[in-house]
Symmetry: C2
Subunit: 222 residues, 2 copies
């Protein structure tokens, strides 16, 4: 999937529990980032942590996101460090003992100092990346940003160089424990994110107008 | 749903964009917290933000979560401030212009200083709350924590007093804009989290053993 080197191991990416299920595989990071478009952006404001959900787009070794979501300070203060975390919930792990319960998941944490994208070409490319990650095909269908809208948008870019991924898959861990002899059911209830039938805007002149193919193809097929 | 007072308005809960779609309704906070069990826990480590996905349980005016997920420092340093954010993705908002695209979502941010739960009764109550939020019915089915397991678990509790919620629902906002006259389809692709058929642990003596009713009832019905 990528010829990029494995993820750099830094103080943070080696921290505590992260080691346990951590993997240095860059391809896994790319897959986790490609599988969603909602991240949780962590910033420090006046010494306090703040975590804001926002959308992102990832391409190559860069992640793009909007600058105004966390606070004006992120937009106005170059050099502010952030943590961007992307998580996918894959299942509820039902073990024989409460202690061994948990979740199956894939998550990526990206650390770094974002930069404000000022080059007009990169800004348009970054916004397209972000837009296409959320709604593939809309960049070529919806009206593109005007000069005024572009100016009103703060786009941030950050390197994927310092990242950490964690993945848990599979059944509970107590299948060979004494608890397993007591006859309880154990296993996983899978969880996934599903996209349903497009709901037309009531403001459409004709709510029954055909849904464009690229939008129809966003719907999850079973 | 609750007789608790509206959420306190503090410097942080009034910040920036949060105002826009913010609501001070405590019942909305409770609904958002009840609708999931995965949160993103933000901490400041050596001045840097770190955002870790973890499970939580909420009851009354308290949210419970594990202490070791972010780092030992959170467990060992009482007084460390955190931000717990819970987000539900509800839809992709497809507008006439790229600029008006976005997502429908419900999110809650809870700010505070968690305390380590040391009282044995509260610890058991808190772990039950957390366990039942993730997997309802398992507390009465799986083996309960032993004294040793309890000792190995760091449970944190935090007040819900300082919280902020944001909700976006409905169609795109450009239905009455000039863009609406150009005839593009617009609307929402709904997104939801779905729980599938339970997958038995291959280590079960009989993989075909009946799935307990409380586990079967975790599966999403259409």
């Amino acid at each position: 999937m990528t010829a990029l080197p494995d993820l750099a191991s830094t103080g943070r990416t080696r921290l505590g529990r992260m080691r346990k299920r951590g993997t240095p595989d860059r391809a896994v990071l790319d897959e986790i980032l490609a599988a969603g478009f909602l991240c949780h952006l962590g910033v420090v404001l006046d010494g306090h942590p703040m975590v804001v959900p926002t959308i992102y787009g990832a391409t190559g070794d860069t992640i793009y996101f909007h600058g105004s979501v966390a606070s004006p300070s992120l937009r106005d203060s170059p050099g502010t460090e952030v943590c961007v975390t992307v998580s996918h919930l894959d299942g509820i792990v039902l073990a024989r003992s409460v202690f061994e319960h948990g979740i199956n998941y894939r998550s990526a944490m990206v650390f770094g100092v974002p930069r404000v994208v000022t080059d007009p070409d990169e800004k348009l490319d970054g916004l397209r990346c972000l837009s296409e990650q959320v709604a593939k095909g809309q960049w070529g269908y919806a009206r593109l940003p005007s000069r005024k809208e572009l100016a009103a948008t703060t786009l941030l870019a950050m390197s994927l160089a310092e990242a950490s991924v964690k993945v848990r898959v599979g059944p509970p861990d107590d299948g060979d424990s004494p608890d397993a002899e007591e006859g309880r059911w154990a296993g996983v209830v899978p969880v996934r994110s599903v996209r349903g039938e497009p709901v037309p805007d009531p403001a459409l002149p004709d709510p029954g107008m055909p849904v464009p193919e690229h939008i129809r193809s966003m719907v999850t097929k079973d």
